[in-house]
Symmetry: C2
Subunit: 340 residues, 2 copies
DNA sequence: TTGAAAGCGCTAACAG
DNA sequence: CTGTTAGCGCTTTCAA
C-alpha cells in the first residue's frame, strides 16, 4: 500500500504539500503542483491511512453502538437509523452485543476507548450499575443514551408510559375491564415504564390492580406464548392482553388460538413497537408504534452535536402512537370476504 | 488519557519494559518490576492505544461487514453469528449497509482499507460488477463471501437450489401440480438459485414451466402481498406458492386470506429462511430453514483462518432442511381445539 | 508557495 | 533483565 511519501516522491514535492492537497487545506498550493500531486495520487491509488491520521488528530471518525442483541428487530431498526446518519456524516460504526451482561458492557466501553472511538451510543442495557456508571464518568466519554437514564448523559427517550396508557385506554374504550399485561424483564427501564403506564391507566379507569394479571417476559415470542398460556388458563382470565413488545404479542396470540380462543372476539391483544411484520400477522396486530429508525437517527445526530461541540437540547422525547388493527377490533367488511 | 510513558515514569522503568509486561512478551521481566508496572497501570487506569499499535503492527483487530440492510432479519441473524465468533477472537466489527447500491459497496471497501481493517465479509451484494471485482483483486484484501461468488474468494454457501427443490417436491408430494413462485430481484444469486431449484423440480415432476406462475419480488412482505395477489387473481391460479423468503411468504398468505382463500386448504405456502417469527404465524409457516447464525459464524471462522494464514477449505456448503408446518399441511388434531 | 522536522503512542531490534 | 532508539504514516508549526 502506497503512503504519503510515495506520492510525494512521484510528484516531486514534499509530504507536507501532499497532505495539503489531500486535505484541501487553506494553505495555498500552486495549481500546477496540485495537479501533479493529484495525478500521482491517482496513479498510485493512494488513500491516506486513517490510523496514522487518527493517532495524530485524536479523531477516528468511528463511533460504537452498544446494544443487547442485533438479531432483535427492534434494535436492528434503531441501528439502521444510527447508521444512516453516521454514514452521511462520514462516520463508521462498530457494533457490540451485550446480551445484557454488565461485564460485556464494561468490556466494550474499554475496547471502544482503546480504539479511540469518537463516541458511544447505548441502547437497552442497564447503565446504572455502580461500576459502569463510574467508568463512563471517569472516562468522560462522549455518550448518548437511547431510553431512560439515571446518569447525566444526553438522551433520546420514548414516551413509553404514555404509549402503554394509550394501549390500555383503547382497550377500556372498546369495553374491556380485565386486562392482562405481559411485560419485560426486571432491570429494563423500558419494561418498567410500560408497566407503569399500564398500572396508571388501570387505576384511572377505576379498576383495581391485580398482580395475577401481570407477567414478566423476556421479549421473545416464546415467552409471550408461555405467559399468555398462563394468563389464559387461570380462572378469571383476561379479555384483553397488552404485551410489552410485538414478538410477545404474537406469542400470546398463538397461545390464545391454541386454547381455541378467537382474536379479537374472545381476546383482544395489543403489542408494542410495530415491527415491520406486525401488519402482516393474522389478525394484523394493534400496537403502540415506536419510531425506531428515528430514535436511532436522533441519537446519532445528538452524538454528532456532542462531538462538534455545538449546543443542543440534551433530551429529545418521542411520542408514541397507537396503531389500531384487527387484533383488537373486528375488520369492517367481514362480509366481503365471502364474495370470493 | 495516560500513555505508556506515564506508566513508565510512575513505575520508574522504560517504556519498553511497560510494553513487555502489557503484552506478556516472551522477553523476561523481573517479577518485582512486573508488579511495579502493573501497579502503575492500575493506578493510572492505563490502556494501550489501539491506533498506535495498529499503525505499527499493521493489525487493527477490526473487520468490516458489508451487507444490504441490517434491518432485514436474515442479515441481522448472520451478523450476530459473525459477531459471536469475532468477539470471541477479540475482533471488533464495523457494519456497512449498501442497500445493494454498487457505489456504496466500493465506497465501503475503500473506507475499510483506509481504516486498515484486517478483513471483510460480504453478504448479499452483487460482487461481480467489473469495478468492484478489480478493486478487490487489486487491493488484495482478505475477503470472505457469504453466498455464491464468481470471483476467487473463500466462501460460505447455502444449498439454495436443493432447498427450493425440497420445498417444491414437498408440494408435489402432497398433491399439488400448479405451483407459483415468488422470487427475489434480478441480480441476486440467491434469488436465481432458488428459482433454478424451483424450475428443476417442476420439470422433474413432468410439469411444464409456466412463466405466468413466476414473479420477482423485493424480499419485502409488501411485495409478497402484491405479487401474491397477482398470482391468485389471474385465472388458473396456483394451488401452492413458494416464496423465496419468509416475509414474502407472509405477504402472500395475507393476499390469499384477503381473497377469501384458506391456507393450506385452498392454497399451500412455503417460505424460505425460517426467521424467528415464522413458527408464530398463523398458520405456522412451512419453510426452508437456512442456518443463518451458523453461516455468519462460519464466515468469520474462515476469515480468521485467512488472517492467521492457516490452511482451510476455501468453500463451505451448508445444507438446508425443510421445516414442515401448517401452511402446507393441516394440523393433526384439529378436533381437539373444540374442547376449549 | 514550499519544505524540514517534531511528534501522536506504540513495538521490536539492538546494546548494554 | 533493562533501556535506547528507530519508525509505523500522518498533520502542522516554523523557516525559508
Amino acid at each position: 500500500m502506497p503512503n504519503i511519501l510515495d506520492v510525494a516522491l512521484k510528484a516531486h514535492v514534499s509530504i507536507a504539500t501532499v497532505s495539503r492537497v489531500v486535505n484541501k487545506s487553506h494553505h495555498k498550493v500552486n495549481l500546477a503542483t496540485q495537479e501533479r500531486v493529484r495525478e500521482a495520487i491517482r496513479e498510485l491509488d493512494y488513500r491516506p491511512n486513517a490510523l496514522a491520521k487518527g493517532l495524530l488528530m485524536k479523531k477516528t471518525m468511528t463511533i460504537g453502538i452498544i446494544i443487547p442483541d442485533i438479531s432483535n428487530p427492534y434494535y436492528a431498526e434503531i441501528v439502521r437509523g444510527i447508521q444512516d446518519v453516521a454514514d452521511q456524516a462520514g462516520y463508521a460504526v462498530t457494533l457490540h452485543n451485550t446480551d445484557k451482561k454488565p461485564e460485556g458492557i464494561i468490556r466494550y466501553i474499554y475496547l471502544l476507548r482503546e480504539k479511540s472511538a469518537d463516541g458511544i451510543i447505548f441502547s437497552g442495557g442497564i447503565i446504572n450499575g455502580q461500576e459502569t456508571l463510574s467508568i463512563l464518568k471517569e472516562l468522560r466519554e462522549r455518550v448518548v443514551v437511547i431510553g431512560r437514564h439515571e446518569v447525566d448523559f444526553p438522551a433520546v427517550m420514548v414516551d413509553n408510559i404514555g404509549g402503554a396508557a394509550r394501549a390500555v385506554q383503547h382497550l377500556f374504550d372498546i369495553g374491556h375491564r380485565r386486562i392482562g399485561f405481559i411485560g419485560g424483564p426486571d432491570g429494563s427501564t423500558t419494561a418498567l415504564d410500560r408497566l407503569t403506564g399500564y398500572k396508571n391507566t388501570i387505576a384511572q379507569n377505576g379498576v383495581t390492580f391485580s398482580p395475577r394479571l401481570v407477567k414478566k417476559g423476556m421479549w421473545t415470542p416464546k415467552s409471550g406464548y408461555l405467559l399468555g398460556t398462563e394468563l389464559l388458563k387461570g380462572k378469571g382470565r383476561p379479555t384483553a392482553i397488552v404485551a410489552a413488545n410485538d414478538p410477545m404479542a404474537f406469542g400470546a396470540i398463538k397461545a390464545a388460538k391454541a386454547l381455541g380462543l378467537v382474536v379479537p372476539k374472545d381476546l383482544a391483544v395489543v403489542g408494542f413497537d410495530d415491527i415491520p411484520l406486525s401488519s402482516y400477522f393474522d389478525p394484523p396486530l394493534t400496537t403502540v408504534k415506536i419510531p425506531m429508525h428515528d430514535l436511532g437517527a436522533a441519537s446519532m445526530t445528538m452524538l454528532l452535536n456532542l462531538i462538534s461541540g455545538e449546543k443542543f437540547k440534551k433530551v429529545k422525547l418521542f411520542k408514541t402512537t397507537l396503531q389500531v388493527r384487527e387484533s383488537t377490533v373486528e375488520p369492517l367488511k367481514k362480509a366481503d370476504r365471502k364474495k370470493y
